[in-house]
Symmetry: C3
Subunit: 503 residues, 3 copies
């Protein structure tokens, strides 16, 4: 459909005609390019799946994977290249990257490999498979908080307690008491792990009915899932399809904020909604159909006129010229350009040094980056020098449109807001400590009482919202009245009122 | 504007030129086609309304109704046809479907017919008028819950009590007591009935001032309205313009989720917002401008690469080929492919057998599909065989992109979630029963006290939200923190806290 | 990029070819037009900034300012003209409107003027500078509530108390008391004043590091900001870039609802979200890519098929014809077509006569347009004759698509809703007065207690939401359950419950 994208908006075939002498047919040529020969195995896949799962076949046919062989991809200049491997195995080099090229990789390492119509394939294509052509991206990703998102949530006793309290079924007994049960795996998969990723294992084979009759396929646990920290049947972490959705695996889609907004929503991580009402988001909404989301490097002004999530946090951004000047190197560790972490646990803090945050211990011996009274676990967090370097990287992106003075003052205000919001979390926490000490609440489980849940809202919902909104300047709806300062204030008062009523 | 759609994106006239010998003018041709001759009466309408209501005239001019006569429409193959009538009256067959062809139909059955500039017309075009060319669609629709939406709400004493409590004015008397009045008709029209539909009747004629001077027109009650269950002056139910908005009446618009989102919003029926952050919705947002929303049948892959509301719930969906293979037949009963009803009243339940749900009586003799403790009113609900058949129809759509195993496991998780959420509603209801029994609340009106309103939120807002989000996989924002499990848990605790405080 | 807009959707160069004899290159011609010669000074700016801030340079290059000289602009007919000045200074007339033409204006009146690379320029271009070519627009704007938005908020002791209570840091002392501090300037700037505008002053010069080395630039206070009531270093009010965003300053962008939604969001002024689910908004979402947002006058039907915010509240709207017929004159006082003010303070009321609302005094001697019991401060509000005239202007826009009867009945329902909602505010206020009288709350600060904040939500969030939703017919989500009647009712009950619990 990628070529059709160029044709469809006109609703007619467009031809170039130079003084009647020359007839060019870019549409047709492009279409031919698009049908770079698939391998024999892939042609076999297509022979059935074109009929039985036409949606994903059409997706793939419109993709760069279908149009370009690795050999062709490697002809690009270093800056324009989308593959980070310098070479690929011979059997892949001269075919389009089709069904078999991905589902047939590393089958000996996959617990989910099986014989399908005489060919051994894997159900779940993993980052380790994508690594064949994209090793740098997988390397960067594997060290990120995203790749570790399952472990970071489930292996951390504090977060795990919160997860269990929220998602466990509650039963009311004959005395009117509310009893909390441990959450079911299905509900974990349907809530937290839908974004964080599930652990996919293979529980033997099972026969299923399909439109071509019964098939024997691996029985996967905790499937389907495409969370960012998914634990795959080959032991690798993550799902590239979280952002590069199947089966187009498009760079353009991953650069659009819609993709990020699937997980980054209100009220805990409201990056998507905040962006939407920011000046950047307003320009995106008004103009993105005119932009080029596919260009590598991604050139400020030429390709886009306001940053999306990807421009600031991931993409190879450049300024055009005879030789494009790189503004920010591509990264698939989405925290790599961030100096502070505004997702408060429970306060903002310097970014952790490792993507695996389950290793953190703070001064209270809790696995949190700050203590409940705000002391950071410094040895697990990046130092000031690294913070300054990362802030510099981010500012380099800002200053492709904004003056240095504008940019500096934006970040000064942002830092001030982060501090004040932390202060509002501290106020709530002091009230909470008082409630625990006075027996107004019991801190055996710090998340299961009404007043404790107000406290969670203070740091997880409202403090985060104000920080995100301040970071992406111009989303004042969220700094002020929508989960913003209004709620920081009103919610603090509710905690206070609860204490006063139960004194 | 439909043709202009093809021209405008280029901002220039596009011509095809083959070696300078051939000059084609598709633009002009298209424009001529677009001006299929209107009838004499319609030309008369246009002669004034082009000047006085140009917005709707331009809408119509860009529509298929303006471009195609019934005779032309009937030339299409059965699968491509947009009319379900096999024949139409002679006087309609060879003209475009213009102002008079619709507003001049069945005037003897319309209480709102009147003489306008010497011609008898109706103000409100109704499904019964559309039936002339589209009988199957009207037939399907008439039996649906949508068509019965007015009655289902207003003739059900339980829902009616909720409606009255929410929308009635409250007065504070000199003793500080809050007194509830019955809601005004205007406020009912502006809230619940805006979606459910109003009862439009004719209260004589009245003179109004217009830009052409005073006109004598029927005085309609509860107008304007285009709710899905509107009771029209000819006695028919519904408004096709709810989804096929005036005066383009476009199939393309009805297939876009924007249309459905007008009513299906947070927090009670959050299908629209849930779709927006689902993987399907993300792909829609990124790609819909490249899709063909006008094709009949609607072909997976060729026309679209992710389902919209219509693809799963209404459209004639097919897989392309020499002869397109039908995946799902078109239906205008939007519940016809649904096996379970996740809009809990107060629990989820099998779909009702009749679109008229006001006939339901449960074991407690209440007009609800389940009792307050969860027992379904089976005799009014579809049986297991029918449920299995409907689930099969839905899965057929899923498997045009997803594997059978993926699809099966998705629905297993969904069913598990539905059950657990019902459990969370049961817990809240048990607390509520306790509150009523202990005198903490009075159940004379089960909706008018603070604690009762928390209970309503449990089943109407939070349980529904989790179920909708689980159904449309990948909207974890809504299963988790945004009206999701967080709120099911926190709200239950609030109910418990209220009881404890008033013991 | 404006020209590129016409080219990009095709993804190829489109040429017109007439029988092989004529070769037209509209693309190239357009591109040449686009590069109307900049002035010598502007060329000097561009020589560096093309490299150092390419984003804003590309923005400008795609703009009408870059493509058209004032002399060319003045050749348009009166109705099509985008400049309201009849003449411009000679030195501006024959160049494109580039960097220097705006940043070099009126430097003697700017506290923020400074020497930059040998040229005197201002950092902040103000409405007074834009006035050179657009005097009528600036004149209209200057008298509006928007231009006075800083003063209206900060110089009004009642609103100021609310602002301070919401945005001030709260500290918890050793006795568990919550202490409120005055808000910091940075947090005011990051919340309320981000929309309302900050006061920008010059605090000397300072050296900053930039990519071209250290630069000496004016040190601006409360910067960056582009709020609608910004107080500029030249004393003028507002920022045209609030809506015509830098550096394209596009009329098309300002006509899209995305722009307005940046400030007009949930829960206090939910015009944006309400529009999104209204029938108008649904049509916008489905069709705006086909519309012409750049045409002057803006023609109903020809240019757009559903109104955006601008169509109803600002733009020069016309009906096409040999001579377009004006439906509504352009205004940059966005209240000029409004007869009632549905942003309740604390009740709805007739629009104020002056954009400076800090001058209002009601019968209780408070600077509010109504008393707490609902009596309007009539002498500061427009009279009935003016209200009727304004309603007529608005209806003229409606009736380009809707019948007079439809339109009249819409407004009747709207007025009824406004009255009922005011009634719901009155009920809450009566409870509040009772709470203050009985000592349940203290009204020294009427905004800092839990129950008082519930009262604020009644009029600031829920009453406003219902009124906005009723005004833009078809946004029933917001009249009913989402900050609507449900919340008016449930919140009133919470206030009542609070009083009962503290009696």
């Amino acid at each position: 459909m990628e070529n059709m994208r160029f044709l469809k908006p006109c609703g007619c075939v467009v031809s170039l005609c130079l003084a009647g002498l020359l007839l060019c047919m870019p549409a047709l040529q492009a279409q031919q390019e698009n049908f770079t020969p698939p391998s024999q195995n892939t042609r076999m896949c297509l022979s059935c799946h074109t009929r039985f799962t036409p949606g994903i076949v059409t997706d793939w046919q419109a993709s760069r994977h279908a149009a370009v062989t690795p050999e062709m991809a490697l002809e690009k200049s270093a800056l324009e290249r989308r593959m980070s491997a310098e070479t690929v195995p011979d059997e892949l080099a001269r075919y389009s990257i089709g069904c078999y090229e991905c589902h047939g990789l590393n089958t000996d390492q996959h617990a989910d490999s099986f014989d399908h119509m005489g060919v051994t394939i894997n159900v779940v294509v993993s980052p380790n498979d994508c690594r064949t052509c994209h090793p740098t991206e997988v390397e960067q990703y594997s060290g990120s908080k995203k790749a570790n998102a399952y472990k970071n949530l489930m292996n951390n006793p504090v977060y795990h307690a919160l997860v269990g309290t929220v998602t466990g079924i509650k039963t009311v007994d004959e005395h009117g008491r509310v009893l909390l049960q441990a959450p079911s795996q299905q509900t974990l998969n349907d809530t937290c792990l839908a974004c964080h990723g599930t652990r996919i294992e293979v529980d033997g084979m099972h026969m299923i009915d399909t439109s071509v009759g019964p098939l024997n396929v691996p029985k996967l646990t905790n499937w389907p899932n495409q969370g960012v920290g998914r634990i795959n049947p080959d032991g690798s972490l993550g799902s590239c399809a979280s952002c590069h959705s199947r089966h187009a695996f498009s760079i353009a889609d991953a650069r659009k904020p819609y993709t990020c907004s699937q997980c980054h929503g209100e009220p805990d991580v409201p990056a998507g909604p905040v962006y939407e009402v920011s000046k950047h988001g307003v320009r995106f909404a008004s103009h993105w159909q005119e932009w080029n989301f596919d260009d590598v490097p991604w050139e400020v002004g030429d390709d886009f006129s306001a940053p999306t999530c990807a421009a600031c946090h991931a993409s190879l951004v450049a300024v055009s010229g005879d030789v494009p000047e790189v503004v920010a190197e591509r990264t698939h560790d989405f925290g790599a350009r961030l100096y502070t972490r505004i997702f408060g646990l429970i306060y903002s803090h310097a970014q952790p040094t490792s993507g695996d945050t389950s290793i953190i211990k703070n001064a209270d011996d809790l696995p949190l980056p700050t203590t409940f009274l705000g002391q950071p676990a410094d040895e697990f967090l990046i130092d000031e020098e690294e913070q300054i370097a990362r802030l510099g990287t981010m500012k380099a992106v800002c200053t492709t449109c904004h003056s240095s003075d504008w940019t500096n003052q934006h970040f000064e205000r942002f830092e001030h807001t982060v501090q004040e919001v932390d202060h509002m979390v501290l106020a709530a926490t002091k009230l909470m400590v008082q409630a625990w000490e006075n027996g107004v609440a019991e801190n055996a489980n710090p998340f299961d009482e009404g007043i404790e849940q107000l406290w969670v809202k203070q740091w997880l919902f409202y403090a985060n919202t104000v920080r995100y909104a301040s970071a992406m300047t111009g989303a004042q709806k969220y700094t002020a009245f929508h989960d913003g300062w209004w709620d920081l204030t009103h919610n603090l008062q509710k905690i206070k009122d609860h204490i006063d009523a139960h004194r």
